[in-house]
């Protein structure tokens, strides 16, 4: 999740005791008496960083202020709160005439809303809430929405990916023109890569989208991204998993990245995502969909669902002086390891014996480059040649995290040990390229 934390409702210690003493809960009207600092207002939940002895109240003019609970302060419960009313979500009518698109909610800031009474930011939990955040969706396609999860994307696991892939698969099998997956941006690229491998022979667009400014803000990028993603899913001639996000700071154009080539390259900007090692697939803007980059078009055959994965795979980042313990711990009990090596794919030489031991014990090691641009080549320097002799697999120009997801998927396919290297070296879902050209 990029920005915006939920507000902690809970007061602590003395303040909590005092509030409990009068039976006050956030949302109630309370009055604090004592000198000039007296105030009456709605008791607010506390921010994580609110000081321990502070009570936060919302005054009539809308402002929140923090007042210290002192020994001589007197707290009075004036009125029990009206409670937090159930939000009514306007039902958006869909047209059966338009192409069917499945919208899968998984969490993140793309579908969250703020409770104006308490200031708490809640994720959208209902399918209707997802659609209501961009009612214009109904003009684009016939949306069938479903909220699978409401989690922060850093909490994703292999199981979540499998469930998402399965839902996308079912939707396409059921005749959907495309699938949109609303996802937190932090690990969106990981999920995109996983779903790419899990749906071989994909025949329609599966578009992941999210927002860098949460949808509880008027300036959120969620709405524009969601609408463009729906447009791409409904009408794009694409048979791949893609990530769609802003192409720049402006709201009027979105860019389509290959799911196995995209990377979040900025912590906060709307255009955080970049296609690494190649051209983006295209753009979706006010003047329509334009897929100018190399891509697979829609197909008529149904995709397969191959969702098995072996999550006993580690991912490590090489650095000078890297301690053996770090590498050892990453490989201990694992069946695979992906290294984001330096330069052409290197690791401090002293770590070679550990790698050899891991491979000889039946483990699979894949080398990628932390340069993020260009390919691994283990033939150029002696350190690289030693790694190659030890049996380290060259990850060519795969992004480290994509190679990691791929190795889990390859190991999940239960192929024999010797075939792992071959599969890792094959281009399965556009995750690698044979040529690299001047821009």
């Amino acid at each position: 999740m990029a920005i915006g934390h939920p507000v902690n409702m809970s007061y602590e210690a003395e303040v909590l005791k005092a509030l409990d003493g009068i039976g006050a809960r956030p949302g109630d009207i309370v009055r604090m008496e004592g000198g000039r600092k007296g105030a009456e207002g709605v008791l607010m939940p506390r921010h994580e960083f609110t000081s321990k002895d502070i009570i936060v109240v919302k005054l009539k003019n809308g402002y929140n202020i923090g007042l210290r609970l002192e020994r001589d302060s007197k707290l009075v419960l004036m009125k029990k709160g009206i409670g937090l009313p159930e939000r009514s979500v306007p039902k958006v009518g869909m047209s059966k005439e338009l192409p069917a698109v499945k919208l899968i909610g998984t969490g993140g800031t793309i579908a969250s809303y703020v409770d104006y009474k308490t200031g708490a930011v809640h994720p959208a939990l209902k399918a209707d809430e997802l659609v209501a955040s961009a009612p214009e969706l109904a003009d684009i396609c016939n949306i069938d929405s479903e909220v699978l999860y409401s989690i922060l994307s850093e909490d994703m696991t292999v199981e979540y990916w499998q469930n998402i892939a399965e839902h996308a698969f079912e939707a396409l099998k059921g005749g959907a023109a495309g699938v949109v997956i609303a996802h937190g941006t932090d690990t969106m690229a990981f999920t995109a890569a996983a779903v790419s491998f899990m749906l071989p022979g994909l025949n329609a667009p599966v578009v992941l989208t999210g927002s860098q400014r949460s949808s509880d803000r008027p300036s959120s990028d969620a709405r524009a991204n969601l609408l463009s993603a729906a447009r791409l899913a409904a009408y794009g001639d694409l048979g791949e998993v893609a990530i769609l996000m802003h192409s720049g700071s402006s709201d009027d154009s979105a860019i389509v990245h290959r799911g196995t080539r995209a990377r979040k390259m900025h912590s906060t900007r709307r255009d955080a995502f970049r296609t690494m090692g190649g051209e983006p697939i295209g753009t979706v803007g006010e003047d329509g969909i334009s897929l100018t980059g190399e891509h697979r078009g829609r197909g008529t055959t149904c995709p397969e669902l191959k969702k098995d994965m072996d999550d006993a795979v580690g991912l490590v980042y090489a650095y000078p002086g890297m301690h053996e313990k770090v590498l050892g711990a990453s490989m201990d009990g694992m069946r695979g390891i992906v290294i984001a090596g330096t330069g052409l794919g290197h690791l401090p030489s002293k770590l070679l014996p550990s790698i050899e031991k891991f491979i000889n014990g039946g483990g699979h090691a894949v080398m990628t480059t932390q340069c993020l641009g260009g390919a691994v080549n283990l033939s150029v320097y002696s350190n690289g040649r030693a790694l190659a002799r030890a049996g380290v697999i060259e990850g060519t120009d795969m992004l480290p995290e994509v190679a990691w997801v791929k190795l889990m998927w390859v190991l999940g396919q239960k192929v024999s040990g010797e075939k792992v290297g071959g599969l890792m070296a094959s281009n399965l879902a556009g995750e690698m390229s044979e040529r690299r050209v001047l821009d």
């Binding site: 915006g4 000081s51 809308g62 202020i65 923090g66 809303y113 703020v114 400014r213 008027p218 709201d251």
Partner: protein, 620 residues
């Protein structure tokens, strides 16, 4: 209270860094790049209400933003806010303490929803710093309701159609807002209260100066009226006119409501009638032009409103203006109503035909506007709404000040519900140590500072010090006076002259002690006139290592011969014979300016003035 109730909100830009990023609080003319955004009302704000708001946002207002050297990712809403500027918080707390207000124990920043595009985020970050306190205005108490610290909005550089362009340089400059209770009873008292608060803010020495650095919102209600806010008044001198105008407007609206009630007038009902066919051959160019472009003329009957729309007995504008301003909010430029017809090219016959079509009775009024279908309908809806409000009197609203002292409708008054916590900014505990430090260093009032400076630098002309304190920063004044004294200033008069010259010459900060001393000596020895001092300073600043001689040479200073002076004077007098014969001695000042310009400061002003007077007398 029986009279009007007036409250003020004074917004003053602070001379501190931007509130939520480390950009300088400076305006720029160079634009580095642009981007385009849309703002949407958020889910919860819409809730089950306001279809109109949603319609508005669906119209697709798009805002263009200009990036400058004074803006970063924070202003572009591409990065969360940083910790608030500590100096700005100190300043806001200082203002609170000066007003005798009670600071809060913990400052909680809020987001105030603003969807007009002036904030890239769609909200303004603001925090209440203190409550209470008071100021005395002509011996009367005006209570302070709140002191707030907030970020300034982006600068609107262009408006039009379905969007606007804003520059990001101003966005995020810290503003302190001082809000009073509605304790003010008269327009002049409001002006005095604004002056008093403004002076207090300037006493901090950290109030930014220049156009737009102070803005006032005025809240006004008369008995039986309603709270109306006139937002963003920039000229202090206009406050009284805005208030008098608004009092008049409210009283007029109350009077109209009374008449409407007697007549048992009612709000217009039913759909607007399409009267395009009645105006097909009209002589009104405005109407026929709009119809030719495909517009439709839509009319409604206003039952019982005859006479309420046009100019009223007191000479003020009637409801027609109010209705027209509402129509403008949806982009319909104007309307015509029966009180002003026949007129504007609409004949009596056309008026009668419309009345017949709408079945108007003798006390009924009507209005019509010409616009394309949807827009016209939307405008009629707004106008109908406003007509219904007229039955009750004065609607609560926000108004924009107009240059003529009047105001125009802007939007309904926003409520407190538009505020929710800014969770990206952690709350700030106001510690006792901080308050103690600020209390011990409270700024002195201007009067005290003037007195102190006069006592400390008895040689400097008192009036010059007074003006300096009112116009320039304290730090700068003190520094210059110190430096002048350090140079062993010669006679008080020379010191005073140099003081003013240095104070108002931007380059003077770079002056070394030697350079300053050379100016004193040169002046004392009469090698150049005091008028040449700014030019000498500028020359020193631009040419490091320059000597006084080289400076005087370069700027062509040094004393001018009396012959040359006389020549220039007679030239100027000859060129301006008409002016002299028309204005007599009154022409002295403008001619003096011209002569001094040609002399480039190479002669003493007093001598020139005497010579000029002599020359002018010859002519008269």
């Amino acid at each position: 209270m029986n009279g009007p109730r007036i409250g003020l909100e004074i917004h003053q830009q602070l001379a501190a860094g931007k509130l939520f990023c480390r950009c300088p609080s400076e305006l720029h003319e160079r634009v580095r790049g642009e981007f385009v955004r849309h703002l949407s009302p958020t889910l919860s704000e819409l809730g089950d209400v306001d279809k109109a708001a949603r319609l508005e946002s669906e119209k697709g207002m798009s805002f263009r933003y200009q990036d400058t050297e004074s803006s970063c990712l924070v202003e572009a809403d591409e990065e969360p806010p940083h910790r608030p500027d500590e100096d700005a918080i100190d300043l806001a707390l200082t203002v609170a303490l000066m007003l005798g207000a009670e600071p809060v124990d913990e400052i909680e920043f809020m987001r105030k929803i603003v969807l007009d595009g002036s904030n890239t985020t769609g909200f303004q970050r603001t925090a209440l710093i203190a409550r209470g306190g008071e100021i005395l205005v002509g011996g009367e108490r005006v209570r302070i309701s709140a002191v707030c610290l907030e970020e300034d909005a982006a600068r609107r550089v262009e408006s039009g159609g379905c969007g606007a362009t804003f520059r990001l340089d101003r966005l995020g400059i810290p503003l302190v807002e001082v809000a009073t209770e509605p304790d003010i009873g008269a327009p002049d008292m409001a002006r005095d209260a604004a002056l008093a608060i403004g002076r207090l803010l300037r006493d901090t020495g950290k109030a930014r100066r220049g156009i737009g650095s102070v803005r006032e919102d005025i809240n006004i209600s008369v008995p039986g009226g309603a709270r109306v806010e006139i937002k963003g008044v920039q000229e202090l001198g206009m406050i009284s006119s805005y208030i008098s105008g608004e009092i008049g407007r409210q009283e007029r609206l109350i009077g109209i409501a009374r008449v409407l009630a007697e007549r048992v007038a009612s709000a217009p009902s039913g759909e607007a009638a399409d009267i395009t066919h009645l105006l097909k051959g009209t002589g009104s160019k405005m109407v026929s032009g709009a119809i030719a472009k495909g517009g439709k003329a839509l009319a409604i009957r206003l039952p019982g409103f005859a006479g309420a729309l046009g100019i009223q007995k007191d000479g003020g504008k009637g409801l027609g203006t109010e209705l027209a301003q509402r129509a403008r909010t949806v982009g319909v430029k104007g309307l015509m109503h029966s009180d002003e017809l026949p007129g504007y090219g609409i004949t009596d016959d056309e008026k009668s035909a419309i009345e017949k079509e709408l079945r108007c009775g003798p006390t009924d009024a009507f209005l019509f506007l010409v616009a394309d279908g949807e827009k016209g309908k939307a405008a009629i809806a707004r106008v109908t709404e406003r007509a219904a409000e007229a039955l009750k009197g004065v609607p609560e609203e926000t108004r924009d000040p107009a240059p003529d002292g009047g105001s125009t409708y802007s939007r309904p008054l926003p409520g407190g519900a538009r505020m929710y916590p800014e969770t990206d900014v952690p709350p700030i505990l106001v510690t006792e140590e901080r308050l103690k430090r600020l209390r011990e260093n409270l700024p002195k009032s201007a009067a005290v500072r003037k007195k102190e400076l006069k006592e400390r630098y008895p040689g400097i002309d008192e009036q010059r010090i007074s003006i300096a304190v009112d116009e320039r920063e304290d730090g700068l004044i003190g520094e210059i006076l110190e430096r002048i004294c350090a140079c062993g200033a010669p006679d008080p008069k020379t010191a005073s002259v140099v003081f003013s010259a240095v104070l108002y010459t931007p380059e003077s900060k770079a002056l070394s002690k030697e350079e300053l001393t050379s100016i004193f000596t040169g002046l004392a020895e009469g090698s150049f006139s005091k008028e040449a001092v700014p030019a000498v300073i500028a020359h020193y600043a631009a040419n490091p290592g320059a000597t006084l001689a080289s400076a005087l040479g370069a700027i062509g200073a040094g004393s001018v011969s009396s012959g040359e002076m006389e020549k220039i004077i007679s030239e100027v007098v000859a060129e301006n014979k008409d002016l002299i014969s028309a204005r007599g001695e009154g022409a002295l000042a403008p001619l003096m300016g011209e002569v001094m310009k040609r002399l480039r400061g190479r002669a003493d002003g007093k001598l020139v003035s005497e010579a000029l007077k002599r020359e002018m007398k010859k002519l008269v």
